[in-house]
């Protein structure tokens, strides 16, 4: 039925995901089925998607097909083009790793009271939904897949529903996902209003007036931005992502957010052809805000998974800055620079998927062996969980955008794109864009601070609580999964030119031309614009690092006494330090909290309890709550209170309503 092998492969991946969902109900009786059946199937589906994506990318072709589902006059169209393929690769990579990891991770739940059926089934549906979103080629199947994704992930958020916090998070999440979905639907409606049909081909053909194009863009930004957790629509994200089981959190933060990015790119760059430079400015502004707010709140967190969730907000912000640059350049007819920015955005999307999933898996490993999410209870884990520790370190280095790891490459590309602002005609934009990139720089530095804090508090120093002191290394499957992702982090960092040549077809597909001479000076040298303008050689960097370090070590081995004597820490000669004397997560963040106090609602107090012990309480909340969410809720409540007067309870009043309605209508029609 479907000619193209890679597309059928991708659809087969969807089927595998559904199969893993189908296996799950049996797990209710035989818990082992989840580990032996559902999760491996999930991993296989991921691998399948990975293969399909790589195949399409290398071939650079695109294939489409029609499935016998959906409305009679609107069957399901599916299509696999380079853009979709990249995101298939992204989903596939992470899901494969999760497949390895999950097998050992879900073992915990076999003893718990929460329904394994729900866990396995909805994980499968979740993956199937994400794959279908990427493959969709008409608005209807896109929406179906999109909402399936939201719904399944909602059930996974509500998985451990006995804590009230999780229920609240799930409700907030589903509500905002629903609103976002409606906005997206409306956006498609606008396009279809001009395009005639709901398949992407005719949406693409739509000729929009600038006003309606703007409306469609705004709706897309609202809908996808809500899912991508852009400030100020991010409130659900730090609530929902942490409470899901960790391997699901990895999928949600690492992959689902990227699916939102995919949708945005698909709608704005592909379907809604006519771009306007102001959109780019809007994106850069919102992206910058999200990046800054995200990282600052991440820095303030003490719950590891919550911290990671906030840092996702920050990274999505960076991605949208890059997308904004792409729009800006595209609208001002510098499509080669637009291509650079777009590729940078995609590159960062891939990278974030890799290291954020890696970090969430690491957090899950910690949770698994210490049952602890609070940083202030951790410490010294590197020596107790060496594998997890080293992989987590790679994750931290990558997310902090340090050379020679992958995060650095993509941020470097974004900087390069931003620095091409001198090509723009308008002086205002010429000066605004670099300022935005200064925000990016600030963000980068704060991210580094954040992850120094995370790693230093969690993995270094001394254990701050008993059960952390007793932590055991995590089982093999779990660190294999992390190792896979860590390896890819390094790989993506060291071979940027190859990755770029893989991403190039998308720029060609969406913008007409790709990044011209990214590897002009050979594969060693990454020169996105030209060799004179900027160059970076990751392979040589890592080579030289290794050489110099090796030389130094050799020299020491020969020249000095290599032996190292162990002793108590000196600590300026004070008494040998106890774990409680270490800096905590909160105290580490204190200087920055004080500098940026403006952004936070800080509730800080010292309370002396009944037991005479004085405790320090610190609660940092988001300003958007007071500014946006609570007022909305209050409005609805008061409106419903007003409306309730209709139901006064007296039958005579009801009859009065009937009479009034009748008279009013008669009066209207008699006019």
């Amino acid at each position: 039925m479907i000619a193209d092998p890679s597309l059928s492969l991708a659809l087969f991946a969807v089927l595998l995901a559904l199969a893993s969902a189908a296996v799950a109900p049996l797990a209710g009786r035989r818990p082992r089925l989840l580990r032996r059946g559902a999760v491996p199937l999930l991993g296989m589906a991921g691998a399948m998607a990975l293969v399909a994506g790589l195949w399409t990318l290398s071939a650079g072709t695109s294939a489409s097909a029609i499935l016998p589902l959906g409305l009679p006059w609107l069957p399901w169209h599916v299509r696999l083009d380079p853009l979709a393929a990249v995101f298939l690769v992204l989903i596939g990579l992470v899901t494969t790793a999760v497949g390895f990891y999950g097998r050992d991770y879900v073992r915990d739940f076999e003893r718990g009271r929460d329904s394994l059926t729900a866990l396995g089934g909805f994980s499968g549906l979740f993956l199937a939904g994400m794959l279908l979103v990427v493959l969709a080629d008409d608005a209807f199947v896109f929406m179906v897949a999109w909402e399936l994704m939201s719904l399944a992930s909602y059930f996974l958020v509500a998985f451990q529903h006995e804590q009230a916090a999780n229920r609240r998070a799930a409700f907030l999440y589903l509500l905002m996902a629903h609103i976002g979905g409606l906005a997206i639907l409306l956006g498609f409606g606008v396009l279809a209003g001009f395009g005639g049909g709901f398949d992407f081909a005719s949406l693409r053909a739509a000729e929009l007036s600038p006003l309606w194009a703007g409306v469609a863009f705004a709706l897309a930004l609202l809908g996808f931005g809500m899912k991508a957790g852009l400030v100020p629509l991010h409130a659900w994200l730090p609530e929902a992502h942490p409470v899901a089981p960790s391997h699901i959190s990895a999928l949600m933060s690492g992959v689902m957010l990227k699916v939102a990015v995919y949708g945005f790119i698909r709608v704005v760059f592909d379907l809604n052809g006519a771009v306007h430079w102001s959109w780019g400015v809007a994106l850069i502004g919102i992206g910058g805000l999200s990046a800054l707010v995200g990282v600052l709140f991440a820095l303030m967190q003490t719950d590891l998974k919550r911290l990671l969730a906030y840092s996702s907000v920050e990274n999505l912000g960076i991605i949208f800055i890059a997308l904004g640059l792409a729009l800006l350049f595209q609208a001002t007819a510098h499509s080669n620079l637009a291509a650079l920015a777009l590729v940078a955005a995609l590159y960062h999307a891939l990278n974030h998927a890799l290291f954020k999933s890696l970090l969430f898996l690491g957090a899950g490993a910690i949770l698994h062996s210490t049952h602890e999410r609070d940083l202030d209870q951790m410490g010294g884990l590197l020596r107790r969980m060496p594998w997890t520790g080293s992989f987590f370190l790679i994750g931290c280095l990558s997310i902090s955008a340090l050379p020679p790891f992958n995060g650095f490459v993509s941020e470097w590309l974004i900087f390069q794109a931003a620095l091409q602002a001198w090509n723009l005609d308008s002086g205002v934009l010429r000066s605004l864009v670099p300022i935005a990139s200064a925000v990016l720089a600030l963000t980068g530095a704060l991210v580094a601070a954040t992850f120094v804090k995370v790693y230093g508090i969690a993995f270094l120093g001394q254990a701050r609580s008993r059960h952390v002191r007793r932590a055991r290394p995590s089982p093999r499957g779990m660190w294999v999964g992390q190792g896979l992702l860590a390896a890819f982090c390094v790989l993506f960092g060291v071979l940027p030119t190859q990755i770029l040549s893989l991403l190039d077809p998308i720029a060609v597909q969406l913008l007409g031309n790709g990044v011209p001479q990214a590897d002009a000076g050979g594969w060693l040298w990454l020169t996105p614009i030209s060799a004179e303008t900027a160059s970076y050689s990751a392979p040589l960097t890592i080579l030289l690092l290794a050489l110099i370090a090796g030389a130094a070590i050799l020299w020491f081995r020969r020249r000095t006494s290599w032996r190292v004597r162990r002793c108590d820490p000196w600590d300026c000669g004070f008494a040998p330090p106890t774990p409680r004397m270490q800096y905590t997560a909160a105290s580490f963040a204190q200087p920055i909290r004080r500098v940026f106090a403006l952004l936070f609602v800080i509730d800080e107090a010292q309370e002396t309890g009944a037991d005479g012990v004085t405790r320090y309480r610190l609660k940092i909340t988001d300003r958007t709550w007071g500014w946006l969410y609570l007022p909305l809720a209050r409005t609805v409540d008061s409106a419903s209170r007003q409306v309730a007067r209709l139901q006064s309870g007296s039958v005579r009043v009801y009859l009065g309503w009937t009479l009034m309605t009748l008279l009013v209508l008669l009066w209207i029609i008699a006019l």
Binding site: P68, L69, G70, L71, P72, W73, S115, F140, M143, V144, E147, L148, L151, A158, H161, E162, A164, R167, A170, F171, L174, L175, H178, I179, L182, A183, L185, L186, G189, V190, A192, G193, F198, V636, D637, A639, S640, R641, V643, A644, L646, Q647, V651, Y654, L655, W657, T658, M660, T661, L662, L665, L666, I669, A670
Partner: protein
């Protein structure tokens, strides 16, 4: 024709017979059998209609529009009967109802089915009126079945409001008859819908306008359009749960069906005037108001059955709006929405029946942690609400998708209202649903023997409709659309 007679006579005879059966168990089974037979008859009817487009005679007329509602009615009637058999046994065991009333219940159940089927099949506006009024009379005693003060109060309000509404509808009917007499040769045919529809253009617009207002207010009361809706939540919450299921799932549909039929007449007669879309505009207005108001009401419910009856008002509002919108796409969507809403909503009410049985109360505060206590009920309720909230891959999403896109094409700015309404309604449903299904189970609540077959069947169908609309159904609805909107979508 025989199929038609089978469909109509079965409930009639069954109803009479059921009044004679004293013992409960056989009554339940007999009720089941009668409903099954009715369903068979309706299917046969549908099949014949599929062959010959239209069956007419004896003042009856069955075409694509009403035949699918007939089948739906019979189907939901059957599944509800399946649920009601054990449920009423539990009710009797709990001693809330006397044997006489139980007999009354079963025979009135069939009488109710009968009136609805007559209302759907008849071609005569007068008979239509009689049947709808009959439906009220048949159900009003069932609402007060438990004899609690609340039940009696609810029944009285239901009776008075619907009685008045129906009386107004009759006045509209008389006016229509009057308008018809001025143009028609044989005055006897002046209430025959098909004849009127044929001569719609000739009917005097002034009279028809006034007539339509009365008909709209009258039948609209039964549809549950704000501000004539006040009876609906009371009646739903105080009556026995099977009744709520059929009221929400079927009676509202029938009333809406009547409104749509009459709108077709009025459109015909107003086509030439300067306000050709008056009827549509009125429907849109009522629909939108009902939709928004009901969505807001959802937020302050304490009784689970009231909650879902408001959700019914909301969806009826949506359908009314869509029919008012007119045009093939919207009409198709509205017809589809009628279908999926009846299936989903009756499924929800069945589940709610079990949930209230389990918790021993209807108050939302006391229904907690269903998934822990009895996973099947908890998940069914959860999925039912997810479906009614319009999440894919359930069919409600498909119809709402169509409605929204149709609105988008003609009245883009109204979609914003619709979307905000959908969001508000969603929040209203889930803020109550969450604590009910999730969380730890309260002590002293034990699982009950639940027969969830109807729920699974209904939700399965809705799921199927969401994933793919089978061809025969598509063409069926398309023919109905062509009948109403003058053109199909296929």
């Amino acid at each position: 024709m025989t199929a038609l007679l089978l469909t109509l006579l079965t409930p009639l005879i069954g109803g009479l017979a059921l009044f004679l059966v004293r013992a409960l168990a056989p009554a339940g089974w007999l009720n089941l059998a009668v409903s099954g037979l009715t369903l068979l008859g309706s299917l046969w009817l549908a099949w014949t209609v599929a062959q010959v487009e239209v069956i007419a005679g004896l003042g009856f007329r069955v075409d694509a529009f009403n035949v699918y509602l007939i089948v739906l009615t019979a189907f939901v009637g059957l599944t509800t009967a399946i649920f009601s058999r054990p449920y009423m046994q539990y009710v009797q065991a709990s001693g809330r109802i006397s044997v006489l009333n139980l007999r009354l219940y079963h025979s009135l159940y069939q009488a109710f089915m009968l009136t609805m089927l007559v209302a759907l099949t008849t071609d005569n506006l007068g008979v239509l009126w009689v049947a709808v009024e009959g439906a009220t009379l048949a159900t009003v005693l069932l609402v007060s079945l438990y004899r609690t003060p609340e039940a009696v109060e609810a029944a009285w309000k239901y009776f008075i409001l619907c009685g008045v509404g129906i009386a107004l509808a009759l006045f509209g009917t008389v006016l229509t008859y009057f308008a018809a007499q001025l143009v028609l040769a044989d005055t006897e045919a002046g209430l025959t819908w098909s004849v009127l529809h044929a001569h719609a253009a000739a009917l005097d617009p002034t009279v028809m306008r006034i007539a339509f207002v009365f008909l709209l207010v009258g039948y609209g009361t039964k549809v549950g359009l704000v501000p004539m809706h006040q009876w609906l939540p009371d009646a739903h919450s105080e009556g026995p749960t099977p009744m709520s299921a059929v009221l929400s799932g079927l009676l509202l549909n029938v009333a809406l069906y009547a409104v749509v039929r009459l709108k077709m007449l009025v459109d015909g007669s107003l086509a030439a005037t300067d306000t050709p879309h008056l009827a549509g505009a009125l429907l849109m207005g009522f629909g939108l108001v009902s939709f928004m108001v009901a969505a807001l009401f959802l937020h302050r419910q304490r009784d689970i059955k009231r909650l879902f009856s408001y959700s019914s008002i909301e969806h009826m509002g949506l359908m009314t709006f869509a029919f008012g919108l007119g045009g093939p796409l919207a009409t198709f969507g509205a017809l589809l929405h009628m279908l999926v809403h009846s299936l989903t909503k009756s499924a929800i009410f069945v589940t709610v029946g079990h949930a209230t049985h389990l918790a021993g109360t209807q108050s939302i505060e006391r229904i907690r942690g269903l998934i822990r206590t009895q996973p099947t009920i908890g998940w069914s309720l959860l999925f039912g609400v997810v479906a009614i909230a319009g999440f894919p891959p359930f069919g409600v999403f498909t119809s709402e998708f169509l409605l929204l896109t149709a609105t988008m094409q003609t009245h883009p700015w109204l979609t914003l209202v619709l979307l905000s309404g959908l969001a508000i309604a969603f929040a209203g449903l889930f803020r109550h649903l969450h604590p009910m299904v999730y969380g730890t189970a309260p002590d002293g609540q034990a699982p009950v023997t639940a027969n969830l077959l109807p729920v699974f069947v209904h939700l399965g169908l809705v799921l199927w409709l969401g994933l793919a609309i089978p061809d025969f159904l598509a063409h069926w609805l398309n023919r109905a659309t062509a009948l109403i909107a003058g053109g199909g979508v296929l």
